[in-house]
Assembly symmetry: D3
Homo-oligomer: 146 residues x 6
């Protein structure tokens, strides 16, 4: 292996190979539908360090999983917000998915409720930190009087 000493992020590597175009396109649309600008910011942030990972992130989670019809998007976002709140070590991603949950039809109160419920399964600190992350998103979107 001959690693380059200074990164020259090849823009080409963000281009899916022909036979994955469908997954990539489908994933990009789904990402935009769910996470909106917050999702795009993640993709942009990855460009200089790991452009291939940006592509996988679009293809597998969004092109494969979220595009499946077996579960509606609101239920999917409930699951993701619950899991990220419980895991407690992925605050940036939790905030992206609080945006996502609001974008696909969850109300502010439902998201708060989910996080309260996580106190039962992952403890009160996990729930508290989830609530404070949600508060930032709600404030950013004008959903919380300040």
């Amino acid at each position: 292996m001959k690693p380059s000493d200074i990164a020259t992020p090849s823009p080409a590597s963000t281009q899916p190979k022909p036979d994955d175009t469908t997954r990539y396109q489908r994933g990009l649309e789904k990402l935009r539908e769910i996470d909106g600008e917050a999702g795009q910011r993640v993709i942009d942030a990855l460009a200089p360090i790991a452009p291939d990972f940006a592509r996988y992130l679009i293809e597998f989670p969004f092109g494969d999983i979220y595009s499946r019809p077996q579960l509606d998007l609101k239920s999917r976002e409930i699951a993701t917000v619950a899991a990220l709140t419980a895991l407690g070590n992925a605050t940036p991603q939790l905030k992206v998915h609080v945006h996502g949950a609001l974008n696909v039809g969850c109300s502010r109160d439902e998201i708060v409720e989910l996080m309260m419920q996580m106190a039962v399964y992952a403890g009160f600190p996990a729930a508290l930190n989830g609530l404070f992350a949600a508060q930032e998103v709600f404030t950013e979107r004008g959903l919380l009087a300040v």
Copy 2:
């Protein structure tokens, strides 16, 4: 503190104090509605070791949280199954809540779908172990051809 050397589990301690009767009764009904026999088995298993904890388990998660109207029970079980699959260290409780999810209206396919989605947030091993736990519950309930 004067601990008894041999436990004499006082049945009285499973009796809620008068002012908590509402929470306890409401919790017990909610536990039965959601988890059915699987929930009752947990309460029974706690009796010899920590009867007070059985009472708290009924009162706080079920009497307080699950009884709130802000989120429907199906959404609550989606959140719990997702979180326990992602955490990956609570298989017995995950199985109780796969029962619970089925009891409140989730389909077999929706539960499988949730667990597949957890591969994105907690890795493929967490998803695999969730699927195998679900498989045991599905088989027990005759929802899976053997």
Copy 3:
């Protein structure tokens, strides 16, 4: 469910229902005894986003659990500081409980010792991050020469 679009945090919801007054009062006193101002700040921070969760936090952990006579408060804080250090994903709560441990009789050296021991059970990074969190609290309280 009809969520309000803009939150109107109802102050009334922080009022416990009559039959829970004892738990709430007992919890509030216990919270003040243990966590002092740091605990009050958590309750205040929750008011705009999840006032009901502030109430549950007072009632269950402090009104129910910490108020039980089966374990002294110093032992309880040793357990909490150890667990939060080991889990490693709840730094704000760990700092509240370093305050708490000092408030109920743990010495600075005992807290440092606990965190060193957590290297054995959760690894050196968890212990290091616990020590640095404790250092902030010690400095704030003038327990560490700067």
Copy 4:
């Protein structure tokens, strides 16, 4: 959504769509090269419950990630065994990858060494449980005198 009450696992769903044939074939070969029979058993075990997940497992981790030339397979297995030992909640998958590590050139002693090192980052219990899982694999392969 209309879930079937009794599962009728459609064998067709394990067939990749035409444009993913390359990823699927490449992934299957890589899975066999790395995990051998232990990998195949995971795929077989998934068939009745989540055949689509078996396909994703072949396509993304093995067809996409492990097939990349940027890191040799021995280094990849060192990383996976280390991570699964540290996480500590995926023993079946850890055993599959102890097989995998041996298959791609790690020695018994290197695997033991890795797990000892994890005591530093995830604590002694995680290292101990990793070592006991490895012991089962070594015994199965006749690498440990009994």
Copy 5:
């Protein structure tokens, strides 16, 4: 590196080097004082797979950490039982330390109390699984009517 194909666990490797004799001896005595037979069984179980790790386990956690006078052994075991209950992925080690806690002066009721408290910080499933692990130890020691 030239790994042996078949392990020939060198008994010599369990012998500490001269300058570590103090740590090793001190650790072995501390291990026996705290964990008794349960601790010895762990050391024995490691002999065929990782005898050096058995030595490190005696030297660092027990010879270095538990031998320090800054915290009494009862407080140390409270911390360890709390942390292992909260982490939830080390049941065998939790059971060893339930033995340890009883050996250094914790009562059955105090251990139960600790685990109940962990519901607040790590969720009800972690507390439940801790209680069931403790129940096995209590039953083994005749501390629980069956």
Copy 6:
């Protein structure tokens, strides 16, 4: 126990006892070889709060574990970077070991590759947060065009 109210960090306590001089010296050299300045900063940061822990950190992980010849340093750093990325709750230590991995021969591309692989075992958020931590180190070392 008589804790001092105000810390008077005894510089003497960072001096290893005579019989541990070898481990301490060997560990300090290994720490410098692997982690360089980033490692020294951790030791310095510990001095005011827990100087004994700085000594243990040098002696056990570096004097004992990393000094063993059974695994080369590059493989050891691959294991550590993978584990810390997967655990996801030790960003400062992960950054120290991204430095370490570069210091002992890993390329920028290999480190990125490792973190992408962790998406499979610990989820996409853990991989993303690892990549962003690595990006900071790469930028600091001029390995990434800005």
